[in-house]
Symmetry: C2
Subunit: 483 residues, 2 copies
């Protein structure tokens, strides 16, 4: 039977928790006196449904059932886990815990608090041993971190149970061993926030400039390695001690408004270098560099696909490079595109990934269409060629760095139809052939129609000239056909 | 003719600059008195060659030529741009600039300094107007950010020329309008570093725990939006003002050791809210949420592919889910992938670009192969399924933002052959179908061979269950076949 979570306090954080539990098959009871709570949580849930499943390569369990409850007592009835996400007011949290503990016994009660320590949350509680900090990060349904902070009064078994539940809903419970204001992550966020407020107030930078300074540089690093591992790599062969010797003196410089620093002595250097060895010593610096670089490529490619942030910079750079490329040479069949197999085109087999063959073919075909005048302006005018059907023969394996040529042979053409064979070649070797039917369409009407005379006047002579070319065996073949 | 950059000071940073220029077709002269410089730069260059080209979808120009020079005079001879990356000692930098300016006139001289202001660098220089800060981030060959900081003595034309050159080598020059110790980004890094040293010293957290607190949570956010845009979204419908009202009071709390804060008044709130509107106001909060979520999915999937950081958490979660899955296959096409049509997937027709249909199909097929045990470890063991042939029917038009599902129907399977039909659907509508033959191969021998028993034991029951499914019309069809 599905287990049940009680979410006390909706909003962006409570809604995120509800979504994580629901999408992982838990039933969820929500209590929030805000009359807008159901709508607000519904919106978070819609976002989560549209994103969380994309992270999983295994079908998620059937979504749980969400119930909006009129009282805390009703909400915590039968719950296996309770998460509190009400406003950051200690007396309010105390009242909520008191109500929860009138109806629930022995069940872990996690608090989403950013700032309060568990011992503060537990004050005057009927059963302090089950109250803990489980501090998530927005968006809760995507980011794995949950800081789990116990106090001396916490029951270690309850803490372990809570951590296990968090893992089950896909989170990473970080056990914070020593309670402290704002736990760990928010101490950094707060330090950065304070420094950022100074920079804006003093007119040094705008919010946008500050955001660019983060997301174009160290922000990309921190999504995959943290502060210390990044610096370990930056220290190069000489490692963490070298890095610290180099940057230790900066602690005495006015590099931030926030000047309180611990004494920078051998003891601190040894402590950090030792912990860093324990953390990352299983990899050499060279290995860490390669891991970091591959991670960064992954991030940057993801942003490029989405034309966002650093990905926009990459797209602009591509445009600059493309503007300098020589015009595509012509031949018979007509060589329409020159390409190189880039690292991002390689699959886990070490070969050019399947869809890149069609990508190479598309590039070739697009150049051919441009040549006959079916270019961007033509498309803006409401007409285009759409591919109706393709047949790909994989005849060889392109590898990293291979230079490929894409050529077009026109098999037949009329006013509306264009039947072509594209060959992707490495030197003389055809690594793939793609047979395609393209239809000329009126895009607005969504129907085929004759191509413009200017296009036909360029296409038809080519089709005529290609009639004399031999028809390769792959043409007219269906998948799996015996030779 | 290729242009020339002079790199003064090798090491990790100077080597990164050299690599960026070389791979973008510039010739590079290096001066570094370290006898190990050539080897060290060679290693950075090897890393860059293995990663930077993966970011570009357009062939990079032919790599430039690198020359190691015995003197600064020789190195800067004929250079169009000069970058200084020597140790952070001001008198050393002054000596280097003096030597450079004996041999070079009017050429921009960027300094990689983290801490010195341009006015400090320019002191006593023969020509202060061409000396500027161009502060990069490690790895220089991948991260786009370069903080460009002029002083009052800088020549605005030289600054613009330097920014243009940085753009040409794929960087994002962030013009820092007001010089300040440590520019912008390093002020944040320094604040976090100081706080982290406190946490380690006080025994609150180890270096590893701190790194996890960063990379499992806010680090992922900061690679795609910065501090302010992230908080704007977190503020929800009520926006930036609401967020600040909520978190303003925390400035009075002991959330970090670093306590210096500006006065939190209406003026500051209005300043920040106004700048945030100018920065992000063109998107609604809902749009920003979706952009953020899609970016995070991209990052998390990239890490999952690499089994690293938050990606490891996702893999563990998949294992937990898989352990709970019911085993027996059903007689229905298996939904194997969920995708969304991203801006980078769109062609000039405004539709999903042709090769992305095969990409979607590949993703679907890869997940299916993983499901039957032909996963990364299997490939590492020397076996894999290769696609031999594909037939694509374009049946509809996917548009920006469409959510697509990829499903697999096994048409037939034996020890060596796998014949499948993949449907790419938007809701119930099939926008494309892809019929494929995959062959199981011994990758080393380059020949087909029977799949491993563990794979067949999962594949064959699915094939058996799918026998009862109807065979769609598109199967066995050749291109252009009449219906």
């Amino acid at each position: 039977m599905a287990r049940k979570a009680a979410i006390i306090g909706g909003g962006v954080i409570g809604g995120g928790w509800a979504a994580r539990f629901l999408l992982n098959g838990w039933n969820v009871n929500v209590f929030d006196p805000d009359p807008q709570a159901e709508r607000k949580i519904g919106e978070v849930l819609a976002n989560a449904r549209a994103s969380l499943p994309a992270l999983s390569d295994v079908p998620l369990p059937a979504e749980g059932k969400i119930t909006f409850c009129g009282t805390i007592t009703e909400a915590v009835e039968g719950a296996d886990y309770i998460q509190e996400s009400v406003s950051e007011r200690l007396e309010l949290k105390h009242r909520v815990f008191a109500q929860i503990q009138q109806a629930s016994h022995g069940v872990p009660i996690g608090s989403s608090t950013s700032g309060f320590k568990p011992s503060e949350l537990q004050e005057n509680a009927a059963d302090p041993s089950v109250i803990l900090v489980a501090h998530p990060f927005n968006p809760v349904y995507l980011l794995p971190l949950a800081e789990v902070v116990p106090s001396a009064k916490s029951d270690p078994k309850v803490i372990e149970r809570a951590k296990e539940i968090l893992r089950e809903i896909g989170m990473f419970p970080l056990h914070v061993r020593k309670e402290i204001d704002a736990h760990i992550a928010d101490r950094f966020l707060e330090a950065v926030w304070r420094e950022a407020l100074w920079l804006v107030k003093d007119g040094v930078a705008t919010t946008e400039e500050i955001d660019e300074a983060i997301r174009m540089g160290f922000g990309l690093r921190w999504g995959q390695m943290g502060l210390f591992e990044t610096y370990r790599v930056a220290g190069g062969e000489a490692g963490m001690k070298h890095f610290m010797a180099q940057f230790g003196p900066a602690l005495k410089w006015p590099w931030t408004k926030l000047m309180d620093v611990p004494e920078f002595n051998d003891e601190l250097v040894d402590l950090i270098a030792g912990q860093s060895d324990a953390q990352s010593g299983k990899y050499t610096i060279r290995e860490l560099e390669r891991i970091r670089d591959q991670n960064l490529i992954g991030f940057l490619r993801a942003l490029k696909d989405r034309d966002w942030g650093a990905g926009k910079v990459l797209k602009e750079h591509d445009k600059m490079l493309a503007a300098k490329l020589p015009a595509p040479p012509k031949a018979e069949p007509m060589a329409m595109a020159q390409m190189q197999v880039l690292p991002g085109w390689i699959d886990y087999n070490g070969h050019m990934t399947e869809s890149r063959y069609l990508f190479a073919s598309s590039e070739t075909c697009d150049n051919f269409l441009r040549l006959i005048g079916a270019d961007m302006d033509y498309v803006k005018g409401g007409h285009s060629y759409y591919t109706a059907e393709s047949h790909i023969m994989h005849l060889g394996e392109a590898k990293l760095g291979d230079r490929l040529t894409g050529s077009v042979q026109v098999l037949s053409a009329d006013e509306k139809r264009l039947h072509i064979l594209i060959r992707i070649q490495r030197g003389d070797e055809v690594v793939a052939s793609v047979e395609q039917i393209l239809l000329h369409v009126d895009m607005k009407a969504g129907k085929t129609c004759p191509a413009a005379p200017a296009v036909l006047s360029r296409l038809m002579p080519i089709a005529e000239a290609h009639k004399s070319l031999a028809r390769p065996d792959s043409v007219g073949r269906h998948v799996g056909q015996r030779k």
